[in-house]
Amino acid sequence: MAGLVFYGLAGLTLLSAMAVVFARSPVYAVLFLILSFFTSAGIFLLLDAEFLAMVLVIVYVGAVAVLFLFVVMMLDVDQKHLEKLRHYPWKSFFKAALRSGVLAGVFLGVFYMAKQLWGDKVVFLSDEGPLTHSFILAAMSFAVAYALYWPLSKWRFLLPSESAETVAWVEGALQFLIFAGVMTYVLFGAPSLEIKKEVFDAGGAPLSTTDALSHLLYSVYVIPFQGVGVILVVAIVAAIALCLRHRPGVRRQDVQHQLKTTKEDVLSLSQPKVGKGVEWTSR
């Protein structure tokens, strides 16, 4: 049951995240962003992080996403620019995706064959071995990284020079980096991924995550907590200062000017003669 919920939420999250990236209209993109925030709040709930889930819904859906929506609707974004997406090199993207998928498949196939053959002899290849999960993860990350690195080969302007040698060199270096990273991860990073499934405890008594979080936040992390508050204040002040504009011709209260004004500036005494009135002089 939990698995079903997880897969449903994860699929929705990923789909709406992709919709954020690919949506042609910014308004739809923001709405899909809100949907992905909602579903990931559900995933946080699955992870027993109920406080963070609520914060995600309140802060992100309630504030940040609505801010995005306001900005998108305020700005008169030119739609014809967005049509450029059509000229995107989709063909090479699908080619790269296919290539990386095949590579990951080969990896996984070799691994499972090795597991079938020597699974009961070599500890590393057994079901409980640290290699099993990390290998799957490594293959998947390899596939994703390979699918992602293709923009470099397409967008030459990101490179220092456009000559074929430079392109080949950068591609080779990237491939090597990806491969080395994955291999390092598989060989050395795997043992740290042992999974402990403990509920958060405080001296045996069950403690809700929100409780534990508050204890930690107001004791150990009180200084960073205050620092985050300062950051928020700075953000507010900066945002207001950036967006404040003075239109010419608008009457506005100037407190400094008001305080600087003395009696001599505004008051003039005159002795009018009878029947003559007072002559008006502007200062």
Binding site: V20, D48, Y60, V71, L75, I136, F157
Partner: protein, 105 residues
């Protein structure tokens, strides 16, 4: 169907990858890039929370909370800069921001 740490990590990795893809597709407007950044931060948050859950340690959630706050501040300032830029230049297209260089097609 037991959901392990690996499932959550895969999900957050995929979220982050989608965000990176959105940022790299720099043919779009600044607002798309900001939204992709939010997606990337969401993926990172998911990693923190899942590790926190499976290590039985709440510290990860504390950091996730900090990330959320700083991301909110970043979004606010980024959008403010966006609005100011739009007022000045009447465009938020990445390819139009070429004051310091030549125009890329």
């Amino acid at each position: 169907m037991d959901i392990t740490l690996m499932h959550y990590l895969c999900l957050s990795m995929a979220l982050f990858a989608v965000g990176v893809f959105g940022v790299l597709m720099a043919r779009k407007s600044l607002i798309h890039i900001l939204m992709s950044l939010e997606l990337m931060l969401l993926g990172v948050n998911l990693t923190f929370v899942s590790f926190s859950r499976f290590h039985g340690e709440v510290t990860g959630q504390v950091f996730s909370l900090f990330i959320l706050t700083v991301a909110a501040a970043e979004a606010a300032i980024g959008l403010a800069i966006l609005v100011v830029y739009f007022r000045e230049k009447r465009t938020i297209q990445i390819t139009d921001m070429v004051s310091l260089g030549e125009k890329v097609e």
